[in-house]
Amino acid sequence: MRRYIARQLVQLVVVILGISLLAFAILHVLGDPVLLLLPQNAGKEEFERYRHLLGLDRPLYVQYWKFLSRAVLGDFGKSWYADTSAFKLVLERMPPTIYLTFAGLLVALLIALPLGILAALKRHSWLDSLCTAVAVAGQAAPIFWLGIMLIIVFAVRLRVLPASGYGTWQNFLMPAFCLGAALAPITMRLVRSGVIEVMSLEFIKTARAKGLAEPMVVVKHAFRNACIPVITVLGLQFGQLLGGAIITETVFAWPGVATLTVESIRNQDFPVVQCAVILLALLIVTVNLIVDLIVGFIDPRIRAGA
């Protein structure tokens, strides 16, 4: 187990370094910050002076090292737009994003677990076909379009839910459903194939042979074992889930990190963009690590094989 954790940690550090390099490169290699900071009519001397002031005339690796050593301490510089530190700005917007992500996950599970299990038990029935059809359609529907359709129906026509905003439980309904609907199809398929695989194993026959009622067999024996692949894939999909949350936020004007990032991109506020990108990556990597550890703990085969 110790070697397994060590290996995961090494990978974590490599991934974080890689992402910080990406975030750094986006601003310093692809673009020129001074060009963005100074007015266009500024003189050449002005540019040089500013470049020196910001340390941009030094070699790239020196700049990267400086960027990294500050970032480790949570110092990503000041926002170029608002007069606060980028780190604080991003951190303040983190909770809404996390709540939305978990609400979406919850909705996805509420849809996917019962349907996936039913589809697996009634394999090749009309119910199974219907679930597959809905899943295929669900995978093709863009989240942002689904969100707008929900707003048109429930906020504009029926006037039962708020179109945007944050704070009450009503605000959560549409964004959470939107995000959940995007994640549900793949989760349902995983649950279905997991349950089908487990149901054909020996211990299910044993459970039945000893006279257990069928619901007991399904819930206590089949479902628990089918959970392992579902947890693994959901954990590894956390990045995609967060990506979905980013899209959902922009549709419902949710006050999370994503809206902040898009705003900052529009304002060319790069310290905030860099900070948001790195913190989100950190969050994803941490969740992945935790999932890996949990799964490795449950299933020793994975520990050995990874």
Partner: protein
């Protein structure tokens, strides 16, 4: 692709009990055929979408950029106040929605195919390298793949577009460069398996060069996998392109693209639902038929394929 051999005693013995499950097998075959039929239907619809986009200049009922303030925000033909002149209605400055959607398809399809070609080229080369050579090359490439895969693709594309500036070419490059890891991962896994097969070992023993083995013996065995992923990825790229355009970071107005039409329509959704609804339907339908086609293609090329 399994090697055929004369049935041995054991295999013959296995045929007995297999007969009991014959109905299930027949059902599975039926399902496969049904899926293929779905795939063919989907391919037909896709062809229609491609044709209307490609021939938009000759088929569109109006100029997609022609402003007609008098008929602004006019609803679809079947609603009260709609005219047959604008079957799907008009937008906030009176441009014909149907015409704009036909032109908008061009952007989505070009970006989708362009980005997938770039992504597949990079991904297949790196995946081959990692799988064939193994060792340090493998470790480096796969670590890179892991970095890319943990990271939400949307965020990366947003950040890069923010610096490069939005344009059609930048969009293709960004989506292409960001989309390669999935090809690399699948190709690597397949290459690892093929590398150990007898015909490759025979080739090596006969003194074939690495380049020749990869080109003549490994790549031909990867074609079906790559075709299937590439098909499914076109749909993903179309959705992402639309999202970027929706945010105003992709194709810039007035050039019609499904994404920016949806984004503009969102501002008018209080009274004019059709502006946002139809372009979204176009994205939905296109990704749906591409997905159906990809699934059918997977069943047809290799029913055992899983990823």
């Amino acid at each position: 692709m399994k090697a055929m051999s004369a049935p041995t005693k054991i295999e013959l013995a296995e045929i007995g009990p297999a007969r009991v499950e014959a109905p299930d097998f027949r059902r599975a075959t039926l399902r496969r055929l049904l899926r293929l039929r779905w795939g063919l239907g989907a391919a037909g619809v896709l062809l229609l979408i491609v044709a209307t986009s490609a021939f938009a200049p000759w088929m569109a009922p109006h100029d997609p950029l022609a402003v007609d303030i008098r008929h602004r925000l006019s609803p679809p033909a079947w609603m009260e106040g709609g005219t047959a002149q604008h079957p799907l209605g008009t937008d906030q400055v009176g441009r014909d929605l149907l015409a704009r959607m036909m032109y908008g398809g061009r952007v989505s399809l070009v970006v989708g195919v362009g980005a997938v070609l770039i992504a597949a080229t990079i991904g297949v080369s790196l995946g081959l390298g990692a799988g064939y050579f193994g060792g340090g090359t493998d470790w480096t490439i796969m670590t890179f793949v892991n970095v890319m895969l943990t990271f939400p693709f949307v965020l990366l594309a947003l950040a890069v577009i923010a610096v490069l500036g939005p344009s059609l070419v930048n969009m293709i490059i960004v989506l292409g460069v960001a989309g390669w890891p999935i090809y690399a991962r699948v190709v690597r896994a397949e290459t690892l398996a093929i590398r150990e097969r007898e015909f490759v070992l025979a080739g090596r023993a006969l003194g074939m060069s690495h380049l020749r083995i990869v080109a003549r013996q490994i790549i031909p065995n990867l074609v079906s996998v790559i075709v299937v992923i590439a098909t499914l990825q076109v749909a993903q790229v179309i959705i992402l392109e639309s999202f970027l355009s929706f945010l105003g970071l992709g194709i810039q107005p007035p050039t019609p693209a499904w994404g920016n039409m949806l984004g503009e329509g969102r501002l008018y959704m209080l009274n004019s639902w059709w502006i946002a609804t139809f372009p979204g339907l176009a994205i939905f339908l296109t990704t749906l038929v591409i997905n159906l086609m990809g699934n059918a293609l997977r069943d047809w090329l290799d029913p055992h394929l899983k990823f």
